[in-house]
């Protein structure tokens, strides 16, 4: 009976609110980054409306920063689109890894939730899944909260950019890294994660040392680590038979 109920409940309002609440705690982690993107978009000559449209529709900070770095007049349509495609490739395996959650939802709940998928909401949702709760509403609520925070911060950065003046190396920018670091703790499943994680880190560092930029260290490291873990798991289950 538990199973039957489990299958029906795939996207609940309660889940959405749990996602919103879980994410409010980490919005401070993304706020400085959003401010910077707002400041840079103002410096590159985007109007407030254009800056808000970009943040709302693209919603991917690193690709926005890179696109703004190569901004010109007229706007670099092809270069900006290609930058977004390459840098955001890291999001594709995230969607795939959420399959156990997404397989049970349809329509806008599926494709709309994917539209706002972002690194931090992904990490929070994986932690939630590993705690035994499978509700796509959580992912949607978490992602939407990140989105609202992102658009508001970009707008504030655009309007108050001249007043803010945060130097690039300021410790506040460590907040984004710290958010992901802290999220590693609930994602950690125990010693069996050690080998794939070590391989992922080593391969990412090696690819970076060779001189390849984003997204190649992330993609190479992630796939190498995951493949190592998968190979070990399949060998173990083969032995058990």
């Amino acid at each position: 009976m538990d199973q039957a109920r489990d299958k029906r409940v795939t996207f609940t309002t309660a889940g959405v609110w749990r996602g919103v609440r879980a994410t409010l705690a980490i919005t401070i982690g993304l706020a400085p980054f959003g401010l910077v993107v707002g400041v840079v978009s103002a410096a590159k000559g985007l109007s407030l409306l254009e800056a808000l449209l970009m943040s709302g529709l693209v919603f991917a900070g690193t690709s926005q920063l890179v696109a703004l770095e190569l901004w010109s007049d007229p706007a670099p349509i092809l270069a900006a689109s290609l930058a977004a495609l390459v840098i955001n490739l890291r999001l594709a395996p995230m969607g795939a890894a959420l399959a156990p959650l997404l397989d049970r939802v349809h329509g806008w709940r599926l494709w709309g939730t994917l539209a706002v998928l972002v690194d931090n909401s992904f990490a929070l949702t994986i932690a939630e899944m590993r705690a035994g709760r499978r509700d796509a509403g959580f992912l949607f609520g978490a992602s939407l909260t990140m989105w609202v925070n992102w658009v508001v911060m970009c707008g504030l950065g655009h309007v108050f950019g001249a007043v803010l003046r945060l130097p690039p190396g300021h410790p506040i920018f460590f907040a984004a890294t710290a958010t992901l670091l802290a999220l590693l703790v609930p994602i950690w499943r125990g010693r069996s994660d050690l080998l794939p994680w070590a391989v992922a880190g080593a391969v990412a560092l090696a690819v970076q040392a060779v001189g390849l930029g984003a997204p190649w260290p992330v993609l190479a490291g992630a796939f190498a680590g995951a493949a190592t873990g998968a190979a070990r798991d399949l060998r173990r289950s083969g032995e058990g038979r």
């Binding site: 529709l57 706007a75 670099p76 977004a84 955001n88 590693l184 796939f223 995951a226 998968a230």
Partner: protein
């Protein structure tokens, strides 16, 4: 408020590219039955993605960032409060940088 057609086109191009990335990985998985190896990989992808993302970022910063990273993880392991852990990491980095420059 100003909205130029070339800027709008660039934004829409970026938006379409980003959506293809967000939905594409799952869309492929939904229409194909992935082999067992791929399914096993998906179990390991989340942690591997974040490690592969964080390792190069930390390697580019100095020892103070590594120390701040340790403080963040230790705080999260001890208290399980994300906002507190983020504040601990930023605070640790700020203190380390400040004390080093003062010294």
């Amino acid at each position: 408020m100003m909205l130029r057609w070339d800027v709008l086109a660039a934004i829409l191009g970026m938006a379409v590219a980003s959506y293809l990335c967000r939905a594409g990985g799952y869309a492929v998985l939904r229409v194909t039955r992935p082999p067992r190896f791929v399914q096993a990989m998906l179990q390991h992808l989340p942690g591997a993605i974040f490690i592969a993302f964080l390792a190069p970022a930390l390697a580019q910063s100095g020892w103070s960032a590594w120390a701040a990273a340790a403080a963040t993880i230790a705080t999260q392991a001890a208290f399980g409060r994300l906002a507190l852990s983020i504040a601990a990491g930023v605070g640790a980095l700020w203190l380390l940088r400040y004390s080093v420059s003062a010294w």
